[in-house]
């Protein structure tokens, strides 16, 4: 069976002229703090989220630094056990709930979805602003809990420890998570309705950019999964505050029930964290290899598949928690299924590079880093989905390494790729190409050094959440901490050069990467309603028509990164192939 390309190609239009800078654009339409705090512009809200989650990322990173420094010595190098327990809990809570979950959906999703589908804003702009406030209120409680001494239950909050035994600020911390969950629901709802109802004329589901598909799938999970953690955290708080509770073994309650309810959300939550990153990778790989995505439908359906199947796996976190033999079999089996769409995506991304024309600016380096690290993260997940091996590896550093590979090596790199890709659009500035590539390299190398030793020591049995450990694990811990310092340095660099770019960066054109998405059809930074209201976009073809050299409105692409377009006489040019898609051989892969 071959994949034929038979539809009539649109008439070629030369690249549009560089759009005039928007006057005013969404950034300079007003300069007041009040204007920012009462905005209903999805782009400004995206920036508000960007600033907030960067702060929480820094806080979570400091907590990680404390954890890793303490692990230099087998009996705790810098803090006592109680402080260590609070440090790793703070790291988990901050990073998961206040950075990873909102990162791409609330920052990039908010900013880009309306632009990518040719709309003026999200469906519910006021709800969008409310979601940021709710997020900040929730984060406020979380930060208060940490500053008031912290929580020491681990981010997983298992009772009876968290409900009866812990002497820490459980209720404010959990309340913070509870509140910020509503923000997640609001964002998810907003994105889903927007994608359903506000696509530009011609933007069919089959022409949506894969970033939108990923975020749609993410929003589905946010919408349906988060309410369950909401009720779970609420029940936990009731038990802790009022002393009555349904997880209390003394009255016949079952603490394992908490685990079921908790993981029913928290497993799909990890797909909330990874799917948007996958969407970014699809956008970046296609742009920087100048090719269509290989297998658009496969990748789109994979996102949906991951979202749906992802709801059926939760008890693979509980294989040794006391669940029945048959439950364990079922959840292991289903967990194998979810690995398949992820594998499909990786193969399709690889196929996208085939016969491309690839350049390696920072977004591409981050995206390739995502693929490389996600492969390891995903494959090591298989060890944990397999029952026989999970018994030994559960609650060891093998798990820690696995999830850091997918969440940091995957998602954070995906977030970085997205920030670096869309930075010119968001800020109207270009950043230092050289420093950004260096940062990407340092982050990827530092990441490897930090987490590969953890696989080994987990396999050897080093448990999680241990400030004191047997001497034989020290060498791995030291290696891991050394890597973490490099990783930290790597993260520091973007905070410097991206900030500097705001003041000293070259002004960006509307489409500096020569990408095909609708978001690049507007000036950088865009005007408040994204497009010239008299000329809202009309879509005539799918995304990623790089080979044809057209964007989604059928217009030509400007001079791209690297050596220019096929039409550029200065590029290394094969004269025998005539320019223009009408005469172009469309290679068919059988």
């Amino acid at each position: 069976m071959t994949t034929a390309v038979t539809t009539a190609t649109p008439k070629i239009v030369p690249p549009p002229p560089e759009p005039a800078p928007a006057e005013p654009n969404y950034l300079n339409i007003n300069y007041s703090l009040w204007g920012w705090l009462t905005t209903v512009d999805h782009k400004r809200i995206g920036i508000l989220y960007l600033i907030s989650i960067t702060v929480f990322f820094l806080a979570g990173g400091i907590a990680a630094g404390i954890v890793r420094l303490n692990l230099l010595a087998p009996d705790g190098a810098i803090i006592n056990e109680d402080a260590y327990n609070r440090a790793f809990t703070a790291h988990g809570v901050l990073m998961l709930f206040f950075f990873l979950i909102p990162a791409v959906p609330a920052v990039l999703g908010n900013f880009l979805i309306p632009m990518m589908i040719g709309a003026k804003d999200l469906a519910f702009p006021k709800l969008n602003l409310a979601s940021w406030y709710v997020f900040m209120i929730g984060a406020g409680f979380g930060v208060w809990a940490i500053l008031a001494g912290g929580i020491d239950t681990g981010w997983t909050l298992y009772p009876p420890y968290s409900s009866r035994s812990s002497q820490s600020n459980v209720v404010p911390g959990v309340f913070g998570v509870f509140i910020s969950g509503f923000s997640s629901i609001m964002t998810g709802l907003n994105i889903m309705v927007t994608v359903h109802k506000m696509r530009a004329p011609g933007m069919t589901w089959g022409r949506l950019p894969l970033f939108v598909w990923s975020l749609y799938a993410t929003s589905l999970i946010q919408l349906l999964g988060t309410p369950v953690v909401a009720i779970t955290t609420l029940l936990l708080m009731v038990e802790r505050v009022a002393g009555i509770g349904i997880f209390d073994p003394l009255i016949g309650g079952d603490p394992v029930l908490f685990q079921h309810l908790f993981w029913f959300y928290s497993h799909p939550a990890v797909y909330i964290m990874i799917l948007p990153g996958m969407g970014v990778v699809s956008e970046v790989l296609t742009c920087f290899s100048r090719k269509n995505i290989f297998g658009y439908h496969a990748v789109a359906w994979s996102s949906m598949g991951i979202a749906v199947v992802g709801f059926m796996l939760w008890a693979h976190h509980m294989f040794v928690a006391g669940i029945s033999y048959y439950s364990a079999l079922l959840f292991s089996f289903l967990s194998m299924l979810v690995a398949v769409p992820s594998a499909i995506k990786v193969f399709n991304w690889t196929g996208t590079l085939y016969k491309g024309s690839i350049t390696f600016q920072a977004p591409m380096l981050f995206a390739l880093g995502f693929v490389v690290l996600f492969v390891i993260g995903g494959l090591t997940g298989l060890f944990l989905a397999t029952l026989g091996t999970d018994i030994h590896l559960h609650d060891t550093y093998f798990v820690v390494a696995h999830f850091h590979f997918v969440m940091v090596g995957g998602m954070v790199l995906g977030y970085m790729a997205g920030i670096h890709f869309w930075w010119p659009k968001m800020t109207g500035r270009m950043y230092s190409d050289w420093w950004s590539r260096v940062a990407a390299a340092i982050i990827i190398v530092g990441f490897f050094l930090t987490f590969v030793p953890q696989f080994i020591m987990g396999y050897h049995g080093m448990p999680r959440r241990y400030p004191n450990y047997p001497q034989e694990f020290q060498v791995y811990n030291v290696m891991s901490t050394a890597g973490a310092s490099i990783l930290g340095l790597g993260y520091l660099l973007p905070s410097i050069y991206l900030t500097l770019s705001l003041f000293f960066g070259k002004k960006a054109t509307g489409n500096p990467w020569s990408a095909t998405g609708l978001e690049w059809a507007s000036p950088s930074p865009p005007p408040p309603f994204n497009f010239d209201e008299a000329h809202m976009p009309v879509v005539v073809c799918g995304p990623y028509e790089y080979a044809l050299g057209i964007d989604q409105m059928g217009r030509g692409l400007p001079e791209g990164p690297g050596l220019g377009t096929a039409n550029d006489p200065s590029s290394k040019h094969d004269e025998s192939s005539a320019p223009g898609p009408m005469n172009k051989e469309t290679e068919v892969v059988g």
């Binding site: 889903m192 349906l224 509770g245 349904i246």
Partner: protein
Amino acid sequence: MSASTHSPVLKHHFEDLNQQHASERLGMWMFLATEVLFFGGLFGAYACYRLWYAAEFEFASSFMNVKFASINTVFLVTSSLTMTLAIRCAKLGDKAGIYRNLLLTFALGSAFMVLKGFEYAEDFHEGILPGASSFGVTDLKHNIKTDAEHAGLDTGKVRLFLCFYYIMTGIHGVHIIIGLGCILWLVQQNYANALPPDNYSTVEVVSLYWHLVDAIWLFLMPMLYLAGAHIKHVGH
């Protein structure tokens, strides 16, 4: 399309009223899905214990006040009717009718909460409480925990049922109160003439929420109140 042809109720980021209404409806249905999952966690947890501890749960349920619950059910179902009538009035542009039906809905919902308050007070006096102590109340009509012991049942599991009773009816009550707030908001919107016939979907969207809260009660009530209806004993 130019600004001058905009209907006053059209929000600027939408292309036309159809898109706006369709989005609002879809948004509310999605929100209802989250509510179903929110309560679903509770219902799922209850189902587990109901299966495991059938005797204790039925015993504890037999102490619930079925009369109050039935009256409350009538209140809520009727309020759903009046809410739907409010939509009809909005479609027809009957502003007075909108007021009437919204306020009736509000009254019925409030009556539900008031009766609930009486019910909780009675439960308190009867010692039907989930905690280990009885808050120092000494003139209890009977103590459900000692009754359970006499019946040879596990007091802890009886208390577990009561935990569910208070948590589930409590959270449901919170949702009723939120719904009452939304109804008042609609009254205010009506006052501001924001509910003309081409914007009736605002009323529809709130009514969807109200119907869901009603529907949840229709599941909650039999679960909590009727599980022990076959057990006859003195008191209720």
